[in-house]
Symmetry: C2
Subunit: 129 residues, 2 copies
């Protein structure tokens, strides 16, 4: 059992810090890619790393850009016009906050979920809904 797993105050498992802009699965991949590539990634490399289509990546980049978390640059690489995506300072800050919530969830849940035969038999008197 995790140290705090018996703490049962209201909202204990609400995870308010779980930023919805980052939490969406595709955007989580995008933000993690960019965080591990501080020099930025060109659109096509980012698309491949995240296994996204052009349209999906564009849509999620727009959401991240509107939230001020990602900066989009236009320029040339290998003599071809390119789009470069980079995590902003704000994006990095919010991602760090998000990661600390994620760490808390793993700390909360992993020891409990790993216990063999953790499901207890119910007392008598309960029947399937």
């Amino acid at each position: 059992m995790a140290k705090n797993s018996n703490s049962n105050h209201p909202g204990r498992f609400a995870y308010d810090g779980l930023d919805r802009v980052i939490h969406e699965k595709a955007r989580l991949g995008i933000v993690t890619s960019l965080a591990t590539h501080p020099g930025g990634l060109v659109f096509n490399d980012l698309k491949e790393l995240c296994s996204l289509t052009d349209g999906n990546l564009s849509r999620h980049l727009q959401i991240l850009s509107e939230a001020g978390m990602v900066q989009i640059w236009k320029g040339y690489k290998d003599n071809r016009p390119q789009t470069l995506c980079q995590l902003s300072a704000l994006g990095r800050k919010r991602f760090l906050e998000y990661l600390s919530v994620l760490e808390g969830i793993v700390t909360d849940a992993l020891p409990a979920a790993s216990e063999p035969a953790a499901a207890k038999k119910l007392n008598e008197g309960w029947s399937p809904a």
Copy 2:
């Protein structure tokens, strides 16, 4: 830098194992609550722990129940009719798989995102989109 953060194969950041049934923010709270309470939780306690409304909790429990991840029981506690929610064996298994993906994300991202002044200056020739 995390050990594997320079690995750049296609789909490296697609996080296919990130089970959408669990990943939704409210359901992640519900499943974590239930994982840390193997004897199950009655509806009202679960609602408070997750800071959800009756309607939201019902809706998410239905999705989890239809996926076979949560079992719902009817019965009496303190002489009042109650609904008891418990994580199923399948739910526990899928949650463990989910948690290992989550751990991987934290391992990938935390060292990189924590580096001070990690954002690199771009080379010349890039302009804001």
